[in-house]
Amino acid sequence: MSPLTPAGETPVTDPAAPLLSVEGLAVEYTTARGVVRSVDGVSFTLKTGGEALGLIGESGSGKTSITSAVTRLLPRNGRVAEGRIVLAGEEVSRLSDEEFRKRIRWSRIAVVVQGAMASLNPVLRVGDQGTERLRADGVARRDAEARFAALLDRVGLPRGTEKRYPHELSGGMKQRAVIAMALTHDPQLLVLDEPTSALDVSIQAQIMNLLKELKRERGIGMLFITHDLGLASDLCDRVAVVYGGQIREIGGTDALLAGPRDPYTERLLASIPRIRSAEAPGFLPGAPPDLRVAIPGCRFAARCPLVFDRCRTEAPDLVTVGEGHDARCFLSADGPLPAVRG
């Protein structure tokens, strides 16, 4: 399938630049109780050629705010307070909303959100929804339909799915249809926000296999948001662990799973029940911090099993602990973390 350039635009692409570069991102929300900075100083890059980065965090960690800033889908009371977002060399954070919508979203950055059921229009046939944006971009009906039918086939949906209404499809089929819709413009970057969390485990495994295939064969960059480190390790080359609006640790999936250098990552890993191990999972007591209250020291200090005095008064910075591997703990630089019981 040939790449399609929507509305006659030529993408501004610097071949030497990373696919995505997020630099010093801060996101703030205006609430009844004042301004909350829910993302604070987040930086990462995504290489070209089909790299997948997992953003891992608990609810309220800021992981969805990060990608909503990238896709310009922040709610009305949210705004990017600081930082730059650069897509293939172009600073897209400087574009107007209008220009971003026309030129970037869907055509170069496509989004698959949690709960596909809710993101489909119940009164439109799947095919009409899938070709809507192509038609709006001036693609002839027949070409748009052929293109979308090929995508439905690619994501594993039977012939004739385009003629059906969303309620006639199962949850897994709907999620496949939503993925096909995200691919209509051959995006460079796919943002996946918990794309399988509403699905049964056997269907979840099918969708993960599909994402892996798409990543391999099309070289699409992926930002994969999840609270499930196990799921992330299935797809992602690198992972960023997000806590209290900051990256706690970022690195290659293998290195991070084998030797976490931040105590939060370590506890998160320990708390996953392993199906093939008799060893009971470890605890991670307490709850994520309330970001409406200023925290003088480390944001994880209140829950950290390795906490010491300095952590309560001084905030640690990210330090490089290996190649492409950064962690945010005063102990990170000293090598493997001391063992934690429980």
């Binding site: 608990e58 609810s59 199962s170 949850g171 897994g172 089929m173 049964d200 485990v201 056997s202 269907i203 979840q204 495994a205 099918q206 993960m208 296999n209 892996k212 295939e213 609270h227 499930d228 480190l229 196990g230 799921l231 992330a232 390790s233 299935d234 797809l235 992602c236 080359d237 999936t253 293998d254 799973l257 084998a258 506890r267 998160l268 890993l269 708390s271 996953i272 029940p273 392993r274 199906i275 093939r276 008799a278 009971a280 999972p281 470890g282 605890f283 991670l284 007591p285 709850a287 994520p288």
Partner: protein, 326 residues
């Protein structure tokens, strides 16, 4: 053999309206037999449409059974009425999946937890406060007196689920039915909630029947696991044995689908079974799993719905490949 809780050939049918006069029977639970000992934790594991939640509701007597019977401590629960039914309701507590929906936003934690005491009236009103605080302490919500004054919206998902457990425990039930107790709780809090259930089970001799889609959590929290598919228990046995030595192809498929944090995962595709679970309104003939089964025997599995047979390692399994002589 007769357990503390005994399910004997339990079926639940629903009738779904089709058009003006016609109805279609939906076989949500089909001939489930299971014995549960006092003080045991049995996890019922399945995907959506497997009938696991309906079975849990039948056990709570929130859902009438179409065939078979459920006996709790010698009493067939379908026959209970009046005071006996109220006594049954005190003996069997329930917690539900969504701690955001199951707690009234207009009530303080104190009122939420005390509600069962008020409804049943078996404990003098003067003792309610002490019972509420004790229940909150038991689920590790402290300081209990301060927590009791709070509204649910000020609490995290894990804290809310603890309130739901305290509400169930305040009447000191002997049995707790827990429907997906941790699926809406953050990953980091799940272990604590499951450990809390284990502690209540051990310290109070509580019998727990949990319903979940999460085989890994069941492996670490339950004594026994029963795997349901299309309304039937396809395999049941001691948790470790079932996971380490699965006999039914569906159990194997579920195990293969569990995402484990392993760097090697990324380099290989997950072994998955094709297709999706059948609709309970249109079950395939024979073994309901045969259209997806990687080891189905042509000519046999589409006609034979295998009965449960004893399983090596304990429990039962329903697969023609496990029948003697197969």
């Amino acid at each position: 053999m007769s357990g503390f809780i005994s399910l004997d050939g339990v079926s639940v049918d629903f009738h779904v309206r089709r058009g003006l006069f016609a109805t279609t029977p939906v076989h949500a639970v089909r001939g489930v037999s299971l014995e549960i000992a006092r003080g045991e934790h049995v996890a019922i594991v399945g995907e959506s449409g497997s009938g696991k939640t309906t079975l849990g509701r039948a056990l709570l007597r929130l859902q009438a059974v179409s065939a078979g019977r459920i006996v709790v401590d010698g009493d067939p629960i379908a026959d209970l009425a009046g005071d006996d039914l109220m006594r049954f309701r005190r003996r069997v507590g329930a917690i539900f999946q969504d701690p955001y929906a199951s707690l009234s936003p207009y009530m303080r934690v104190r009122e939420i937890v005390a509600e069962g005491l008020v409804v049943h009236g078996t404990v003098p009103a003067a003792e309610h406060e002490a019972r509420v605080l004790a229940a909150l302490e038991a689920v590790r919500l402290s300081p209990a007196a301060e927590i009791a004054d709070r509204f649910p919206h000020t609490m995290s998902g894990g804290q809310r689920q603890r309130v739901a457990i305290a509400r169930a425990m305040v009447l000191e039930p002997e049995i707790l039915v827990a429907d997906e107790p941790v699926s809406m709780v953050d990953a980091s809090s799940r272990v604590e909630i499951l450990a809390l259930l284990r502690e209540l089970q051990v310290s109070r001799g509580l019998t727990i029947v949990s319903v979940t889609h999460d085989l890994a959590s069941a492996r670490h929290s339950a004594d026994r696991i029963a795997v349901m598919y299309a309304g039937r228990i396809v395999e049941e046995g001691p948790a470790a044995s079932l996971v380490d030595d699965p006999r039914h192809p569906y159990t194997r498929a579920l195990l293969a689908a569990v995402p484990e944090p392993d760097p090697a995962n990324r380099l290989r595709d997950r072994a998955v079974v094709p297709g999706e679970p059948p609709s309970p309104a249109a079950l395939p003939p024979g073994c309901a799993f045969h259209p997806r089964c990687p080891v189905a025997i042509a000519g046999t599995c589409e006609v034979t719905d295998p009965a449960a047979t004893p399983r090596s390692g304990g429990g039962q399994v329903a697969c023609v490949r496990e029948l003697p002589g197969a």
